[in-house]
Symmetry: D2
């Protein structure tokens, strides 16, 4: 682009392209050092090119600022990472469906208030997590669309005066869907977009946290509906008999870690005035940590699902008579009895079956 608008002549263009290719090659061999004097990678590149090509190197920073360079690099990274997350989500949905293909018809109790309530199936249970993941895909796709705006050329946040830089061309060449026109919005969106992206990660992690919670309950010896492969379990240093599903505990807890990263980004960009503030630099750590943790957790859950075994017998044994109370009431309804009458009839039967009266439950919530 700088060549296109006459800042670089043909020879300088060639020099810089060669220099940049050299940097890529060096970096791939881990031989492109960034020293404290360079401050960061962007200056290191400029310094390298200047040392190599003199005047051409000193022209490389034309029409931009570290602000928009950092922002551009960040957005490119985000686009790539969202792609990885979407891929891992697809894989996770497939892994859920694979369990349902194996054991979807197995019946097990559905719980409300943590009490066995009505029958459900493995397919409905795991299908609910797949459905949640498909909604999460839409959130991440929107996040992708939002970050796919090219900030290069917004410079320090107020645009580039004097020079006729070609922002459309630059955006197109580095693969952005569109230009982020307003330079002050480029700065304002710093942290905002990351917060939204992390909200998407939080949604994904929420599903994993909930599935992990089910799995941990269902792998207790008291429930026993599910068995995990030994490869994802660990032992105890004191108790010789233990096999623990640590990975699920870590996934469960990671939800709150990602939430914490999200809240850092949401809070630390608040109450700032327009234009760049160094505060936003501290959004990077949380972004990297939050997205990385989410990707790790998705992959770990896929591993768990791959080896997961449903214990049909334990599930069947848990489907006791009282879980069919609703079905019995609705059968009476199908035979013509009004629902409320059928409800009371079955409630009475249940009380008799248990050989004791069903005490009246309390009406007023004690807290609310």
């Amino acid at each position: 682009m700088l060549h296109g608008i006459g800042i670089l002549n043909d020879e300088e263009l060639v020099q810089l392209e060669r220099g940049l290719a050299d940097i890529v090659a060096l970096a791939e061999r881990n031989e492109f050092p960034i020293t404290p004097q360079d401050e960061d990678g962007h200056t290191a590149i400029e310094n390298f090119l200047t040392a190599r090509s003199g005047e051409a190197g000193r022209k490389i920073h034309t029409g931009r600022s570290r602000n928009d360079q950092v922002l551009t690099a960040l957005r490119l990274w985000e686009k790539e990472q969202i792609g990885l997350l979407l891929g891992a989500l697809d894989k996770y949905v497939e892994d859920l469906e694979a369990v349902s293909a194996r054991a979807g018809n197995v019946g097990l109790p559905g719980y409300t208030h943590m009490q066995a309530a009505m029958p459900t199936t493995v397919a409905m249970w795991l299908g609910s997590f797949a459905a949640a993941a498909l909604d999460d895909v839409e959130v991440l796709q929107l996040a992708l669309r939002l970050v796919d705006q090219c900030p290069l050329g917004t410079a320090a946040g107020f645009g580039v005066p004097v020079l006729p830089i070609d922002r459309e061309r630059v955006a197109h060449e580095i693969g952005f869907a569109r230009v982020q026109e307003n330079p002050m919005y480029a700065q304002l969106s710093r942290g905002r977009m990351e917060a939204f992206l992390l909200s998407g990660c939080v949604q994904v992690m929420h599903g994993l946290n909930r599935l992990a919670s089910d799995l941990m309950l269902f792998t207790t010896r008291e429930f026993g509906f599910v068995e995990l492969p030994a490869s994802v379990c660990t032992g105890s240093s004191l108790m010789p008999q233990k096999r623990n599903a640590d990975v699920l505990e870590l996934i469960r807890a990671s939800y709150h870690v990602v939430r914490g990263e999200e809240s850092k980004v949401q809070n630390l960009t608040a109450s700032l005035i327009s234009g760049y503030n160094r505060d936003v630099q501290l959004t990077k750590g949380p972004l990297f940590a939050g997205m990385g943790k989410t990707l790790d957790a998705l992959r770990a859950m896929s591993l768990v699902l791959t080896g997961l075994r449903i214990d049909d017998q334990a599930c069947a044994a848990a489907l006791t008579a009282e879980l069919y109370a609703t079905e019995r009431a609705l059968t009476l309804v199908a035979e013509g009895m009004p629902f409320r009458d059928a409800y009371h009839r079955v409630a009475e039967d249940e009380a008799n079956r248990r050989h004791r009266p069903l005490e009246e439950p309390g009406v007023h919530p004690l807290i609310g």
Copy 2:
């Protein structure tokens, strides 16, 4: 629908439709009471219809549970509220544009690190908030699409056995775009969708928090770029001379209130097992508070913008020579000097202009 599948006969249908119409009429006159014995509005309706129509009333709860009724009512409310938010966002963007139409060409300093940096204009400044709001519209539209799934018929979270209920018809009749198929997902999505919706509110509030922060700085006597109408200001009980822009402070702070509501919903649904848990009832207060606060804040900011006056003279006076340093450097670039050389030349001129050497800034961050 209950008539369509043979639960209600023609007469019962007419009775119930009349009874429901009566309830609507009573409620509009505020004469439909809900007593503690009713527990909630859903039971109050059933009790009223049963008292009025006997058997027909006792059939009304057929094929559903309070769980899916509450969820359905909530989604209908959410759809309506998102519509109001989208309308208020549109109005806010118009109000920003109206200020730019009046005073968009006025130049004022752009700030980085809270230090005057380069010239900008009122149009670019306020345009950045309009651009942010337009991205927020996409987030709220996605939230609308996600909640537009009909949970009625998922009953207690495990579907309705025995009866051939017609979920497509019900969804269509009460205005949902589609059926939420998986009953356990209906329960799993409780709180999740509300969290996403509140994330959208947080995005909106973030823009308002930032605009309020700018306006509060720009209305200090020390900056003085902007003046607010007295109608949005308040006085002091001790200091006779004060006129304060309280509304902006309340908008700024409301960001964190909405964030708090979001975090309640995000956290209290974590680590629950599948199926209904009463915990989710506590997502309602935060949802109502968070969406209401956001709507209030958007409207309040619209009021502020309507009366806002830009002080051209104060803005012009603030555009001092050093803000054009970048422009001077890029003018040298346009004349052929490499950027880095131009940068150093202008930096030196600046130091001379200030009659003192520009001290070397520190290189290493002290914290990071």
Copy 3:
């Protein structure tokens, strides 16, 4: 005090004291109205006294501002509420101890990683919550000591010029332990102290959340160690057989509500400049809600504990052989075998007992 420094003469003092006594009497009968024109209770009092006593009433606001009045009223309220919380904590500890007095010696499995691990007792289990509550008492006592500083006389946050007001006397008369000397600290501490107070509430709620989590697991039919009285349970509108311990779910969820209130206060006072900012008004709602919820939850848990029944037989049945593996290993140690050798011996026995080899657990954490 105003009389003591010569602002009020004897007659005015008597007039105002009578007027204030009248306000108290009216307020107790709910007959002291605060109109929108009054803005708040402080101005309503001044207006009432002025209407009643003329000049004396117009002197009542001498040496203070609404800022320090509001702050003083808030601190008095906080002191009272902390007292109530400390009382409810005491009661809760007593209720825990009463269960242990009844059933403390009953053995039940202790869990690690949600897997039955080693035997414990009801006394150790509930005693851990009592120990936590006793540490929480110290936190609340510190909160009490911190808020027990009198801000009256700091006026708008910069003190009272000209007049020789006697802050020590005022602090003493309205029951504060000491004067908050620095007027700007009075403002800076607004929100800070409330955040700390809410941190104390969060600690208390954390204990209740954890106890509720145990109780909900232990009252599932699959565990069945504990039974709750019907008076704290509710029914289902669809499933005739259900009895649910909703109160525990609400306590569990309330932890996150109080956390949300805390985070509002912590965040909305950040990044403000010194001196009063209206933002802090929005700390009141969270403070009232957070402290109120904590008090409610403590009292609700006390109700639960009062009617709680331990099922000795279910507990005994759950104490299966493998839970004594550690005890067997340590018995070998007591007989002279090195611990690590005893550990491996017992691990082998366990594997034989289960008629299958104990698979090697995975070593590397999958997520971390």
Copy 4:
């Protein structure tokens, strides 16, 4: 202790003491490796001692579990770190007082609602932060008292059966004030104590965030009350004239980072059942990050204060006539006029001075 209760004989004790001394020496030279097979430092030590001393090494894990070892190591670290924080807080208070010693009598405007309100002084302004820090000292001292309970001997969270271990002696020898008696409380307190500790860090960071906010406003060219040394400032890659106080922005933002760490710990330990859950491992990262960040920020602020210069002339120029309105009103009060009459008199004078009527401020809050 193991020797005292007869587990180790004299020779084994000597062997182990020598082995441990060797480990210390190796670790100090960074020559004590922990391999993935070791899992962690505790097992690495046991493996080393077993390789060195055979049977004695296999006895080292007697009467403990990795749970209580990790917890004990953590508490020792926390005690040390709180000591460092208390030291840095002392230094910070001294540095605040040193500025006041230099320039405490300089008058400058006090602000309410970000509007110049009444005169204050540098001593009152900075003194408010010192007063806040002194209250924070009390919070950290309580945190120290709470963590100063020795968990060693609680083993996996249910105590040590069979063996007569001497917990008092162990606690005393490794420097704890007391034994944490209830083994299940040792586990329950994991994360709780860290959350409280981080609440203390949040309090400290809140003060720093607020001071940084003041300093950033006061170093704008528009306010100009304060000047920072170049050593804590950085430049711009685009704008040649810039000198930015990045360190203050990083301190301001770090408040929210520490808040995020606190919220991770508060949330991820919620809704767990009693006994060890691997989730708590993820409290370590936030604890280390949150305490480290707080210590860094305190030290960085001390650096800023050391070089800070108050611009007396800019401060004096900012003390314009209207800031003395309250003083004029109170002078009339001292002369016998009722406060409310004096208030209205001065308000009128102010309006005349500004050559325009003081418009009536709005009464009703627009949001709230």
